[in-house]
Homo-oligomer: 342 residues x 2
DNA sequence: TTGTACGCGTTATCAT
DNA sequence: ATGATAACGCGTACAA
């Protein structure tokens, strides 16, 4: 972080460019800002000086003067989840195109860390906040520029980006029912967040009168999906299909199913949600609901940077991705026992 | 990004705190900096004012004055790869603990984007650079504070964090040989980077006189691994084991193997590299080499922030993780034919 | 079209 | 122990 003492020239500043080009700093500033009120000839001299020195404006000084940092902060539970990572890619693309940089904060679900990170907003280090955590951190100003992706935050009227989770979950379960499944369990996200509730609602809707039992809550990790599936498999009335609230839990569930000596989809169908890259490479490849993640990120940046920011709900289309982890139910477990004794 | 006009109070500045506490700004600054030369009583008044107003120092102004931003930039090929994502987590943890924020730049392998992002360094927006891309972007100052993770950059003597890739690759292949494999192919990373060359060297070393053929180059994606494996499977002398330069390519390879109607590890053993989270959830679970990613990130931050930054090579231990994707070779394909005719 | 002067919010130096 | 002041690098209103 520290320069080897005396080993190199200091960064040139605007003043240096001005001196070299034989003009004043204001002219340099204007030229760099692309102001029309500067002669082609002077501009040429300035540009030459910039090239020669390798000058770039000091964003910190510029930020102080302009009262904006050209930086966006993204708060998310964990960057290790590909679903979030791909949203971040979308954010980065769009932000970069708009001349903004992106800070990421992995909060690991820790409210204290969320608050600490969000403070960046108040310190002027950041122009806007993209929330993937589903809740507003402690202590952010009421008027702060915030946009919410994937989740929904009750109470505050914030621009929100996402799909119709109820409809998407219902569509997933409808697919399972169309296949002939009647006992469809649900491995849900952590209790207490809106997203979890929405997908549960969609599941219930599509379930109709059929049994599903209470949802089992996981935390969106593969390990939690595995654990939840174990619970499900140990029950007397084992489901013939499991709808998981994300792909990682579905991947965990498939592991548990294999471990129990059962086969997907022959014995049990499994569905995920999100369509992360790995979903196409599981065995069998995972049937799931695709969310347009890059588009989420891009829309978020647009909402944040757009002058007329009418808080709006951007609802993107989702897509049912049919792969091989779902199939009609086998003649079902009861039959095995019956064929022996009947 | 823009405040609803007139809807709210401006952020309090140090001057406001000074006025409220009845002291000068210098005293406030000192108090906030924890200087011992300030009375307990005045300090109390200042702290009260800070609490009441919700004041936080303006990092931009502070950065301008102090000539440092307390921000670190991480440049990586793609944040969607869990291997990189987990390194970023380590960086974030350590950076956060040291009061620094982290900017991430997904370069998607685009040199232009790398250069653009790296310019942040010159603009004063960033105090240091962590490189996961394996090459120095165009136009960064020769004396810039940089640390390299996982990769190695020839020519410049930079602090470098990683494992011994040659040894690790050799260990992987030795494991395969110990199992009894003699024809061990390698799906390598993109040609031209040091990491790729190192793992190829390790593979060759452990191969000894046994055939391996030339390595097939992928680009670390699952799709490229799948493609490479297809090529391998179509060859006359199909390998009995494939060592892949990362887990994602191994996952892709396993898909190709299944598609060919073969079984892992019965017909072909597959090894990965990295031990990303998904490696434990594939079917069969992937035997691989674990790299301590969080530790990488933490060490990088330490190297960047440490006053006595003697460019150093930090070599971390790797670990062979035995799972179920490797096994002794079956009596092998030749045998099938021979048993018929012999 | 170009230059001068001030302010953005903070910290460090020098007085007191 | 505390206060006045300059400086960090830049953008802009105003003057020329």
């Amino acid at each position: 972080m520290n320069q080897p003492p005396g080993s190199d020239a200091p960064r040139p500043k605007m003043e240096d460019i001005a001196r070299i080009a034989g003009v004043s700093v204001s002219t340099v500033s204007r030229a760099l800002a692309g102001s029309p009120r500067v002669t082609g000839e002077t501009r040429a001299r300035i540009e030459a000086a910039v090239r020669d020195t390798g000058y770039v404006v000091n964003q910190v000084a510029q930020g102080l003067r302009l009262q904006r940092s050209r930086q966006i902060l993204v708060l998310l539970p964990t960057i290790a989840n590909p679903f979030f990572a791909e949203i971040v890619q979308g954010i980065e693309e769009a932000a970069g195109a708009a001349g903004h940089a992106v800070l990421v904060g992995s909060t690991e679900g820790d409210p204290a860390r969320e608050a600490t990170l969000a403070r960046q907003l108040q310190t002027g280090a950041v122009d806007g906040l993209v929330l993937l955590t589903g809740r507003i951190p402690e202590g952010v100003a009421a008027n702060a520029p915030i946009v919410v992706i994937s989740e929904t935050i009750p109470g505050r009227n914030l621009p929100t980006i996402g799909i119709d989770n109820v409809a998407a979950a219902a569509e997933a379960v409808a697919h399972l029912r169309a296949l002939g499944h009647s006992h469809i369990a649900h491995i849900a996200g952590p209790a207490g967040n809106v997203l979890t509730a929405q997908r549960i609602r969609g599941w219930r809707q599509a379930l109709g009168d059929h049994p599903g039992g209470p949802p089992i809550h996981g935390d969106f990790t593969m390990a939690s999906g595995e654990q939840a599936a174990r619970t499900l498999l140990s029950r007397a009335d084992r489901p013939s299909a499991i709808f998981c609230a994300n792909d990682e839990m579905a991947i965990g569930a498939m592991k548990a199913i294999r471990a129990a000596g059962l086969t997907v989809p022959t014995d049990i169908s499994v569905m995920g949600f999100d369509d992360i890259g790995f979903a196409a490479f599981t065995d069998p490849p995972l049937t799931t609901i695709r969310q347009p993640r890059r588009a989420f990120g891009q829309a978020a940046v647009a909402a944040l940077l757009d002058p007329d920011d009418t808080p709006q709900k951007h609802r993107f289309p989702h897509e049912l991705v049919l792969r091989a982890s779902t199939a009609p139910p086998a003649a079902a477990q009861p039959i095995r026992r019956r064929t022996i004794h009947a």
